[in-house]
């Protein structure tokens, strides 16, 4: 279902006219209200009025995660605190957390975008949404929550953790839509199995999963295990939270970006040059309606490409490919670029493999060594050592063939790889560089 038929299917020309008008207003506003942007524009010798077309956006300097950290906590806010009604923050696992704020209109915009996203995934008024995204400073939980209410669905704010209770709620409350990170969902599927339940007995029809990159093969695994249709959703707190982009259930081929609120660009991460549609690079966002925390040309570090060809669902909004990985998650193994999601794709082609894996990178004698840890479940196990060794060799050969890198495959016992309540830890890099 399309939640906002007018805005989501608007002819591109009209949409671009709206984007330009909103962009100009936003640039004007940040120039006069946020000292950081004022200085940045001045240093680059640019005035907001110099931007006359959407193409001119490329003349404006980028904003990075480091800029947000340097202005911790409230330096990037464009309104007085009196007008801020909500504060969220990133986890800060890789440094100082980044703090973002919302006015009540921002909260409304966000709810609207999340309602659109849930509808795109197949949810509607009559649904009961089991929301297992974490509630708190993380935008996942509350983002889905407000969107679900906006849509008119019933939301169960179960949050993350306490997995056994989650299964009981699924059984007793009869939710029909599931929202969580994909790795947590697979963990819940295991817990359900251990408790003697099958997702087939639950009432779920679809799930909207995001907050971490996941592969096409992982989608098949989730759809098979949970007997649902699985949809990818994208967002980040710096831009607004979940709901920046979402797949449509009709195509499941790229995520439609809410272009009436955000302008996407793809750049070459090394040179900063803007790349044409179809080329893979780093995703950059400019918000054009946000009040409390406008963001200009923010480098997301997510790697993807854009596709403006029409979609079967009827939406005219540009599609971004499923995120391939992050520029900072990208492993360089003996000079070859590898994303964890690419290894995942290879693994998921092997019959019986569970989607629990971890990549460990070491440096021995100045050579990078990649070890892929794979858990051995009942479907993979054999009483013959020979077969298990053949399996290790097969996976290693497949990785070599598809990705061109040598990897050692190490079979490990079930649950040896730590399960996430939120985002999965896929890579352990022990190299001292």
């Amino acid at each position: 279902m399309i939640y906002d038929i007018e805005l989501e299917t608007m002819p591109r020309e009209e949409l671009e006219a709206i984007q330009l008008r909103r962009l100009k207003t936003t640039l004007e506003r940040v120039y006069f209200t946020v000292p950081f942007y004022n200085k940045k524009f001045k240093d680059a010798g640019i005035l907001p009025g110099d931007i006359k077309s959407l193409e001119d956006l490329k003349f404006i300097p980028f904003t990075t995660k480091q800029d947000l950290r340097d202005n911790y906590p409230y330096g990037m806010f464009a309104v007085p605190m009196d007008n801020v009604v909500r504060i969220h923050a990133s986890s800060g696992t890789t440094g100082t957390p980044t703090v973002v704020g919302y006015t009540s209109r921002d909260i409304d915009t966000w709810a609207e975008l999340m309602a659109r996203s849930l509808a795109a995934g197949g949810a509607s008024r009559g649904d009961i949404i089991h929301n297992a995204y974490g509630y708190g400073l993380f935008t996942g939980g509350l983002g889905v929550h407000y969107g679900a209410e906006k849509l008119g669905a019933s939301v169960i704010p179960v949050s993350g953790g306490n997995s056994k209770r989650q299964i009981i709620i699924m059984k007793d409350f009869g939710p029909t839509v599931l929202t969580a990170t994909p790795s947590y969902i697979l963990h819940l599927a295991e817990v359900a199995e251990e408790m003697g339940f099958s997702f087939e007995d639950f009432k779920f029809k679809c799930g909207i999963f995001g907050a971490e990159p996941w592969s096409e093969n992982m989608r098949r695994e989730i759809e098979r295990k949970l007997h649902i249709s699985a949809i990818d959703i994208y967002g980040l707190s710096e831009v607004i939270g979940p709901g920046v982009a979402v797949e449509c259930r009709e195509a499941k081929n790229g995520l439609h970006i809410a272009e009436d609120h955000f302008i996407p660009e793809i750049i070459n991460p090394e040179t900063g040059e803007v790349l044409p549609d179809g080329e893979t690079g780093e995703l950059v966002f400019t918000s054009i309606t946000k009040e409390a925390f406008p963001i200009i040309r923010y480098r997301t570090r997510d790697v993807t490409s854009l596709d403006r060809t029409p979609c079967v669902c009827g939406r005219s909004l540009v599609r971004m490919k499923k995120v391939k990985g992050r520029t900072d998650d990208m492993l360089i193994i003996r000079g070859v670029n590898v994303f964890p999601s690419q290894i995942e794709s290879v693994l998921m082609k092997v019959d019986g493999i569970e989607p629990h894996y971890q990549l460990v990178v070491d440096r021995e004698d100045k050579l990078d060594k990649l070890t892929v840890m794979v858990e051995v479940g009942e479907r993979l196990f054999s009483d013959e050592v020979k077969r298990l060794q053949t399996l290790e060799k097969k996976i290693s050969n497949d990785i070599k063939e598809y990705l061109g890198i040598s990897a050692k495959v190490k079979l490990v016992e079930p649950k040896r790889i730590v399960r996430s309540q939120g985002k999965a830890v896929r890579v352990i890099d022990n190299r001292e560089i």
Partner: protein
């Protein structure tokens, strides 16, 4: 005439085997025979126990991956050439032995050996036709 064997996946780490025996001891399961095959990273432990169901449940509950396979328990005369006669027979009939190990058993005249064979039913028929005693499952678990 088949005997059910359970097998357990183990990482090659200090204490993993003891973890299995501790789980089985706590569940009151008696081990009749075992064999461990290993590589530098992992091992596969094969067990003949007195109660497969109880053993599998206890191990699975403790997070181990457990498999089940059918094997043959064959009586081997305790004298020179006893084992050779059996292997020779299997070999001549193109039946491959994946692995084998001995069962703990107090009987002065015969040893009992567990065979993992790639064509078990055909193999068992062949052994019986040639006058070799194949012990049935319920008896093996209680030996």
């Amino acid at each position: 005439m088949r005997v059910e064997q359970i097998s357990v996946f183990l990482e090659n780490e200090v204490g993993r085997l003891a973890e299995v025996t501790s789980v089985l001891a706590e569940a009151g399961v008696n081990i009749r025979a075992l064999s461990l095959a290993d590589t530098s990273d992992f091992g596969v432990l094969r067990l003949i126990v007195d109660d497969n169901k109880k053993a599998k449940e206890a191990l699975t509950e403790n997070g181990f991956t457990v498999g089940k396979t059918d094997v043959a328990a064959v009586e081997v005369p305790d004298k020179p050439g006893g084992l050779h006669k059996i292997l020779d027979l299997l070999n001549k009939n193109n039946i491959n032995v994946e692995y084998m190990y001995a069962l703990v058993h107090q009987d002065a005249n015969n040893a009992v050996i567990i065979f993992r064979l790639d064509n078990i039913d055909e193999a068992i028929d062949l052994l019986i036709q040639n006058g070799i005693t194949v012990i049935n499952g319920s008896k093996v678990h209680k030996l």
